[in-house]
């Protein structure tokens, strides 16, 4: 199934990707081809089949409620592109 230019722009906006003109047209073609291939899953009638979200049948995995030391603030901020007074710094909206 073909994806339109507007759909590419919509998805890019949802995913916070600022695409160039060249990328928009390239991804429109490639995503259309990929969607056509993966759309094959809709050929199967799977009414009544339960979905699998996870390969192991685990449920209610509990952790003991023991406090552990957190990462020191200095380490949390060690890779920050910008920081101020122990916080991550970003431009105002």
């Amino acid at each position: 199934m073909a994806i339109t230019r507007d759909e590419v722009l919509h998805v890019a906006r949802l995913a916070r990707l600022a695409l160039t003109e060249e990328e928009i047209s390239k991804f429109q073609d490639q995503l259309s081809a990929i969607l056509e291939a993966v759309g094959k899953v809709s050929e199967l009638d799977l009414s009544g089949v339960e979905p699998t979200a996870h390969p192991l049948e685990l449920s209610n995995v509990w952790a003991s409620d023991d406090p552990h030391p957190p990462l020191p603030v200095e380490e949390v901020l060690a890779n920050a592109p910008d920081r101020e007074d122990g916080y991550f710094r970003v431009p105002a909206a």
Binding site: V11, K40, V41, L46, E50, P51, L58, V90
Partner: protein, 468 residues
């Protein structure tokens, strides 16, 4: 001087135990091999000059967090990133004295089948430097094949350990989902990602698996192994039931040379005493790849939302927070992550969720059921790991779908959370062919036993002929 080309991890351990070489001398020998050969092959993104420990060197895929050592996942968006803690697998290796010799190249965020999607340039195949090593753990597989590390860790979401192991002529295990901790691993598709060992022999692979496997309190999807890992010794396959799934062995695109080598290995199973029979996976192979390419990108689109230029990694900083997010992500991600983020975002978006993601999750149930039925009748299922031998660099980079097909045989068992072992089973056109052995969940010991017996009987020489 220690020649690392032929040396296994077991061989290194013997040198250490007999006192013939010290851990430092061995580390230096692998460093020298890297200096000699990695300029051409580019297996490593970062090489460690020093590494604590008294044991065997190991190479780690760059998706694995190493405290204070750069970890980029092959992406520009993580250029210069130094984790402030170790992944659980890194800790477990260190606890056994293993010394990290370097971080290996990979397709960006483990998305790819050739290592050409690395933002830092491709790795080359030690058997033929004009060809790809497979991917996404191409750096790890090529490093082991070229004697730059005795063993390595990779990660496998849709074939990323098995396929490069096959293309480089080494042994790779994708473990049962949930047996190896994902804590500290750069996440791609969390219901599929598993770290796995790559080595020259099945016994080394089994040993390394025993080092990393087992429940981790920091990853609640992990479980304890039902039985301890057994290092394989048997040289026959008596009593083993080997199934040959028709669809995995007759899929379109399997090269004749690959089929020949795999069929010879299946014949060898018979000679070693196994009962061999045919079986079917009617929908798992046809629908496995489409299912994977909906579920993995959907999970990736969520996991990769964290790369926003705020807390770590690249920041491209124009005015305004929205522009910061969008420009950072556009500059930081390469084409393949962008394609998968967009595909996943689309598949999860309102109006399409049921038709794509919801339907793919149901297909996943069908695949689990088909494998479960086949594995009632058989202990091990066999097929080629990859439809082709290593392909030339650039052959598939313009056509994402052609690249995706490289994992068409590796993906179906992954969707069911099953373990898979790839062992080299011969050459086609002078390049290694991988045999995929698939078992039931937690049946790694069966795979190791079968893989080891076949390995002994096949006598495959894992040293690339051009380096020998």
């Amino acid at each position: 001087m220690i020649d690392t080309l032929r040396l296994t991890a077991k061989g290194v351990n013997d040198l250490l135990e007999t006192g013939e070489a010290s851990s430092d001398e061995i580390f230096a020998a692998y460093r020298a091999a890297i200096d000699e050969r990695d300029g051409e092959l580019k297996c490593f993104l970062h090489v460690c000059d020093e590494s604590p420990g008294e044991g065997i060197p190991i190479a780690l895929k760059d998706v694995i967090s190493t405290k204070g050592v750069p970890t980029t996942a092959g992406s520009k968006i993580l250029e210069g990133f130094k984790p402030v803690y170790d992944a659980t697998v890194t800790e477990r290796c260190a606890a056994r004295g293993l010394r990290t010799i370097g971080k290996t190249n990979m397709d960006e965020f483990a998305m790819g089948s050739s290592t050409e999607n690395s933002a830092y340039g491709p790795t080359r195949n030690p058997w033929d430097p004009d060809r790809v090593p497979g991917g996404s753990s191409g750096g790890s597989a090529a490093a082991v094949a070229a004697g730059l590390a005795p063993w390595a860790l990779g990660s496998d979401t849709g074939g990323s350990v098995k396929q490069p192991a096959a293309l480089c002529g080494v042994v790779g295990l994708r473990p049962t989902y949930g047996t190896v901790s994902r804590y500290g691993i750069v996440a791609f598709a969390s219901s599929l990602d598993q770290v796995g060992p790559i080595a020259k022999t099945v016994a080394d692979c089994a040993f390394l698996y025993s080092v990393i496997a087992g429940r981790d309190a920091n990853d609640t999807t992990t479980v304890d192994l039902p039985q301890p890992v057994e290092i394989p010794q048997d040289e026959d396959l008596r009593g083993l039931r080997v199934g040959v799934p028709k669809e995995l062995n007759e899929a379109e695109g399997i090269e004749p040379g690959v089929s020949m080598a795999v069929n010879a290995a299946i014949e060898l199973c018979r000679e070693l005493g196994a009962e061999v029979g045919e079986c079917e996976l009617p929908r798992s192979v046809d629908y496995g790849l489409p299912c994977y390419y909906l579920i993995a990108p959907s999970e990736a689109s969520s996991n990769l939302a964290r790369y926003d230029g705020v807390r770590y990694g690249l920041r491209v900083s124009p005015d305004g927070i929205r522009e910061l997010y969008e420009q950072t992500r556009d500059h930081g991600f390469g084409d393949e992550p962008k394609r998968r983020i967009m595909l996943g975002t689309y598949a999860l978006s309102a109006g399409y969720y049921e038709a794509y993601y919801g339907q793919a999750q149901k297909v996943r149930t069908v695949i689990r059921q088909e494998f479960a039925a086949a594995l009632e009748r058989f202990d091990v299922l066999v097929s080629p790991t990859s439809p082709t031998v290593a392909f030339p660099l650039g052959a598939k980079t313009e056509n994402p779908l052609a690249m995706y097909l490289s994992d068409v045989l590796a993906i179906p068992p992954n969707m069911a959370g099953l373990p898979g072992l790839s062992i080299p089973c011969g050459l086609s056109e002078g390049l290694p062919v991988g045999l995929q052995l698939i078992g039931a969940q937690f049946s790694e010991n069966v795979l190791f036993r079968a893989g080891h017996a076949l390995e002994q009987a096949l006598g495959f020489d894992y040293v690339p002929q051009r380096l020998a």
